[in-house]
């Protein structure tokens, strides 16, 4: 960041953009990062194959289809088949990426995911597109806000929720090169890019994007940007210095980073575009409760379904905007005694 002071050590170390300057922030859908990463994964390894359930353009598999037509398979609207067939391809040495909307895969295919991918220790990678309420006007039927819960509960499964399109590209490549069943979750709408090419990325390693010891805001996915904005405003308005942790790997979660956040900050706010029940924040709570109990507030969807609307409108309505994050942080801070 250009204006270096002690508070920006983390942002420098992570090679972030100047996220405080809203005017210069670029907004690109995370799905674009998936599309770019998949083409690169296919360049690096001819055994990477992609199977799509009739959503090539919107999941951004279309680029792979053009770049690697001989590695691309179309099967139509059949999400259970997507998983099971990929299991067969993986058993024969391929690294299959399968894509649909998160609502349908893993939403419709959960038992195949559990049996054929996870119990079977198969090298299948799920791309869950259009996750969260930010899919917008399509409404509740298409808004996957339970997918992290149903995936993180399965043994062997890796669950990764990158924070922007640049990181989604890196995560796609990294998962392609790491053996084992995996779920990559990303979104439809344009969202802020906060990382750069130089920002490190490692599966299972949470990242501190902002230093602070009053409250730790632990976020995943596109709401990470809201967390950063909220942290800056809290510092300015209340003098509360928040640590912001990009907790992109929900499973296996970086327990050390969560434990350190609890011990060093004494209060935590979790932020995710997902039901607060059984999502990323719940896993944080499990770790904190076991090692070093501190107050936790949960920002996310509060046990209800979404509806049609514009993405920003829905994020605000369901309590995941910057104002909601700030309120949660103030509450958590007050609960520290």
């Amino acid at each position: 960041m250009p204006s270096a002071d002690t508070k920006d050590v983390a942002a420098h170390a992570m090679h972030l953009v100047d996220y405080r300057d809203a005017a210069t922030i670029q907004h690109v859908p995370t799905r674009n990062g998936f599309g770019e990463g998949l083409i690169e994964a296919g360049n690096r390894n001819k055994n990477v194959v992609a199977i799509c359930a009739d959503l090539a353009e919107s999941t951004r598999m279309e680029g792979f289809k053009k770049a690697h037509p001989e590695q691309y398979i179309e099967i139509g609207v059949a999400e259970q088949l997507l998983v099971a067939m990929a299991g067969g391809l993986a058993a024969a040495g391929k690294t299959p990426w399968i894509a649909s909307y998160a609502m349908f895969n893993p939403g419709r295919s959960w038992e195949q995911v559990r049996t054929i991918m996870a119990l079977n220790e198969s090298n299948v990678k799920i791309a869950g597109a259009h996750a969260g309420v930010s899919v917008g006007p399509d409404g509740a039927t298409h808004q996957a806000i339970e997918d992290i819960a149903i995936m993180r509960v399965i043994p062997h499964m890796m669950v990764v929720v990158p924070c922007d399109s640049v990181q989604t590209k890196k995560a796609t490549i990294a998962l392609s090169e790491k053996f084992g069943p995996a779920y990559l979750r990303f979104a439809r709408d344009k969202s802020a890019i906060v990382t750069t090419e130089e920002t490190p990325f490692e599966i299972g390693k949470a990242q501190t994007f902002r230093d602070g010891n009053d409250v730790a805001i632990v976020a995943c996915g596109i709401l990470l940007y809201n967390a950063l904005v909220a942290a800056e405003e809290l510092a300015r308005e209340d003098g509360i210095e928040c640590r912001v942790v990009n907790n992109h790997t929900v499973k296996p979660m970086d327990e050390g980073a969560i434990d350190a956040a609890a011990r060093e900050c004494g209060a935590i706010v979790t932020v995710e575009e997902h039901q607060v029940h059984a999502g990323m924040g719940s896993r944080v709570a499990e770790i904190v409760a076991q090692h070093h109990p501190v107050p936790i507030e949960f920002v996310g969807v509060q046990d209800q379904f979404g509806q049609s609307g514009e993405p920003t409108e829905l994020i605000e309505h369901y309590g995941m905007g910057t104002a909601a994050i700030k309120a949660a942080a103030r509450k958590a801070y007050k609960r520290k005694s």
């Binding site: 001989e70 099971a84 058993a91």
Partner: protein, 285 residues
């Protein structure tokens, strides 16, 4: 694929009898499990391991082996017994079926025993995985084949039809589906619970080659497999007509034996009957 000589046919008939005896012993020791389908598929599994498939029990992960998927995982005893009798592991291990720490799980688990090729039990999922494997072989220009054994009742699962459609689309002539057409399922007759007929016509409509055989006659099974392997441009289905519980007279044709094992006394009777049948095969040879 070569035809069976009379001598080899007799050897395989004896082997199928061994496989049936192994099933009875394993199920009786386990105290739970599925008898009728396991027994009725003994001839098909004997033909597969004894003549039809390219495989090597000493090298279960040989890259060019033919793949055999058991979609209806609940008849695992027949696969385990056939594997043991064809040298994949000691026959005595069959007595560990369904027991704590065993590689022979109640339903097949590949991670515990890689030669199983996949993990199965939830029905309707095997053909889809076979489609993926067959497609991988085509992409890599390999000549190994994929055999998927399915029950008839699992044709009530939607995923199986998704896989049928896909195999037709990709002209997977390296894929053979073998149906255990015994007309029973847990709650009764397949035609009462949810009719499947005309089953062959349904496959034809999905661009499959349909071959029928007597699934309790090894010569008939091998002839069907020969036709299947010679088919170009289409996946093939072998509708193997079987008698549930085949080889144990008090079980034959009785759907209530779908999901239960013989007790010790019943197992003794079954083994006695099978041993007599074995001696008849040898006497007639």
């Amino acid at each position: 694929m070569q035809s069976l000589t009379p001598k080899r046919l007799t050897e395989l008939q004896v082997k199928a009898n061994d496989v049936r005896q192994g099933i009875i012993e394993a199920l009786a020791a386990a105290g739970s499990g599925h008898s009728a389908g396991s027994l009725d598929m003994a001839d098909v599994f004997t033909a597969l391991y004894g003549h039809i498939m390219r495989h090597d029990p000493q090298k279960p992960e040989w890259a060019d082996r033919d793949r055999l998927l058991l979609s209806c995982g609940h008849i695992a005893p027949v696969r385990y017994s056939a594997m043991a009798h064809f040298g994949y592991f000691p026959v005595e291990e069959l007595l560990t079926l369904r027991k704590f720490g065993s590689r022979l799980q109640g339903h097949p688990e590949r991670v515990k025993l890689p030669a199983l090729e996949t993990t199965s039990g939830p029905l309707g999922e095997g053909l889809a995985q076979g489609v993926g494997m067959a497609l991988a072989a085509k992409l890599d220009k390999k000549d190994w084949r994929v055999y998927v054994v399915t029950s008839d009742a699992e044709h009530q699962c939607g995923l199986h039809w998704e896989a049928m459609m896909t195999a037709g689309k990709f002209h997977l002539d390296n894929l053979t589906c073998i149906i255990d057409r015994n007309f029973i399922q847990i709650d009764g007759s397949t035609e009462d619970i949810m009719p499947l007929e005309p089953l062959g016509d349904k496959y034809r409509a999905f661009n499959w080659e349909v071959i029928e055989c007597d699934g309790n006659d090894i010569a008939s099974i091998v002839e069907a497999a020969k036709k299947a392997a010679a088919t170009v441009g289409k996946p093939q289905v072998i509708v193997a007509r079987t008698v549930p519980g085949k080889g144990v007279s008090y079980m034959e044709g009785d759907y209530t034996w779908h999901g239960k094992p013989p007790n010790k006394q019943q197992a003794g009777e079954a083994l006695h009957e099978l041993q007599a049948a074995r001696e008849r095969i040898l006497a007639n040879a």
